[in-house]
Symmetry: C2
Subunit: 302 residues, 2 copies
């Protein structure tokens, strides 16, 4: 089961980190950007950058999260770089999460599920499009927008992470609103997530239906951890967004399991930090991952 | 202003219809599918199908809505077909809406805004990726996930439609929940949409921030029309999903403005209906659009 396997890799590497490949062309070192004039040039450079990062961290970081928006903005060529990044990270043995926050009504959600977790039929053959281990989704449309993902997850041993409490400053505008029944919207969404995961709980007690819970809202995260005992958390917001290791330790059980923490710019742009001066971008990324690992483990075990 | 221009086109054509290009390869006539073995073949066939539909309806239908999930499931080649469909429909003078329900935190929403409404910088140049007139978005993350879209809308005269009350059966699971303040979640989302649109109200009284309001939930649609006087509606759910013209007339003001109604399968697959027997797929689509136009106008004016 995919979440069991992810947890085992986290234990093996002693590292609950997912490296976010939100690779804007602007993040690349000057020498990689020089002379690039079009989306094809951007896509080639971004892919090259991503591959070097993956090569440098795949033995210490369990998973990459590829934020698809950063590729969509470079058009069809960007999507090619996205597809090849997903493929490359998989080929290096990393778990691959596509962060796309997809959502739609049943028949259309089925297409998204095929695109990222399942396969698409062409005549008598079936093929994969952007084959990932995990996909982030948005649950605003309710169960029938989620079921197609659950079906493909079961068929292909995949997982999803549903937005529950997001890391951005205005997440509370809707998510913190109180319902008549006394629960907040994010707590209610959390209860739906627990229900959607009932059929897929693995040996560590977590289902294949995870939740996105921002590191920037520790109070809400603590409530969700207690109300969602079977849900594994994807925790964005650490580092550049302001979330600290101490804030997010509430997402973890006493046994040290419970979630995986994302950092993107902190890793991709590490080479720009004084702390990592003199290192090439990939070596700086590796050092940033090691520093993050120590910081997280100190907090989670402390 | 884009919504004013859309309304003028609707008036000119006497047709509040948006044709949904949710073009699954499976919808195509057998002779277009024969021998296709890979995503490239699928993409070529789908694009060819879409172009013939656009050619046949562009003088009577104001707008197409391209549902991106149906292209993502065919990988990078599918995205090429998507991009070229958007470009082709634009070149034929149609308004183009990308139905992608995108959503993310601010920095990432900015990437989506660039991809679908704005432009992306590469060195000293800027280029467009999937340049559309309108984009559907999901507001679960609140204002800072919406602002990047508002900025690009203003710069480039574009519009968005935010999910408020979706057409699917389980939309009520979250959207119909009552908040402590007495409003439902969909009413509250509607109030956010009205607020986001305050800065962009055009001469017909509607802002560039529209709302998705399903034709399948007439009671909720009626409430929303009265609570959202400045919001133009994108109304899915007519036809194949069960929404009737009589159900959705509550979305319109007495002057006949107020929304645009989507049909996808009812148009794309019209050639399979007994009613249109003997017609090629594009001619059947045109006839289905004319029948839909009559049906809508009867209800809206009735």
């Amino acid at each position: 089961m995919i979440v069991d396997a992810l947890i085992e890799r986290i234990k093996e590497y002693k590292n609950p980190t997912v490296a976010g490949l939100d690779t804007s062309f602007e993040y690349l070192p000057e020498e990689m950007k020089r002379g690039v004039q079009d989306f094809k040039g951007v896509a080639d450079a971004v892919l090259c950058f991503n591959k070097e990062i993956v090569d440098k961290i795949c033995d210490i970081v369990p998973c990459v999260k590829v934020q698809i928006a950063y590729y969509e903005m470079y058009g069809v060529e960007g999507m090619r770089a996205f597809a090849e990044t997903v493929r490359y990270a998989s080929s290096k043995g990393m778990f691959v999460m596509t962060d796309a926050k997809r959502n739609d009504i049943g028949a259309t959600a089925e297409c998204y599920a095929k695109a990222y977790l399942g396969e698409t039929a062409v005549g008598e053959r079936t093929m994969t499009a952007f084959d990932s281990d995990f996909l982030t989704v948005n649950g605003y449309l309710g169960s029938d927008g989620i079921k197609p993902f659950l079906n493909w997850m079961e068929k292909k041993d995949k997982g999803i992470f549903v937005l529950v409490k997001t890391s951005n400053p205005s997440s509370g505008e809707l998510q913190d609103m109180k319902l008549e029944n006394g629960k907040t919207v994010y707590e209610y969404m959390g209860s739906l997530v627990e229900k959607w995961g009932e059929g897929s709980v693995g040996k560590y007690g977590y289902s294949a239906v995870g939740a996105v819970v921002g590191a920037t809202h520790p109070k809400q995260a603590e409530i969700l951890r207690s109300q969602m005992p079977h849900t594994f958390f994807l925790i964005p917001g650490y580092g550049a967004q302001g979330g600290k290791a101490d804030d997010l330790k509430v997402c973890f059980r006493k046994d040290g399991t419970g979630g995986i923490v994302n950092s993107s710019r902190g890793i991709l742009c590490a080479y720009k930090q004084e702390k990592y001066a003199g290192l090439d971008f990939a070596s700086a990324a590796r050092h940033a991952c090691i520093d993050m690992q120590k910081d997280l483990n100190n907090a989670i075990k402390g």
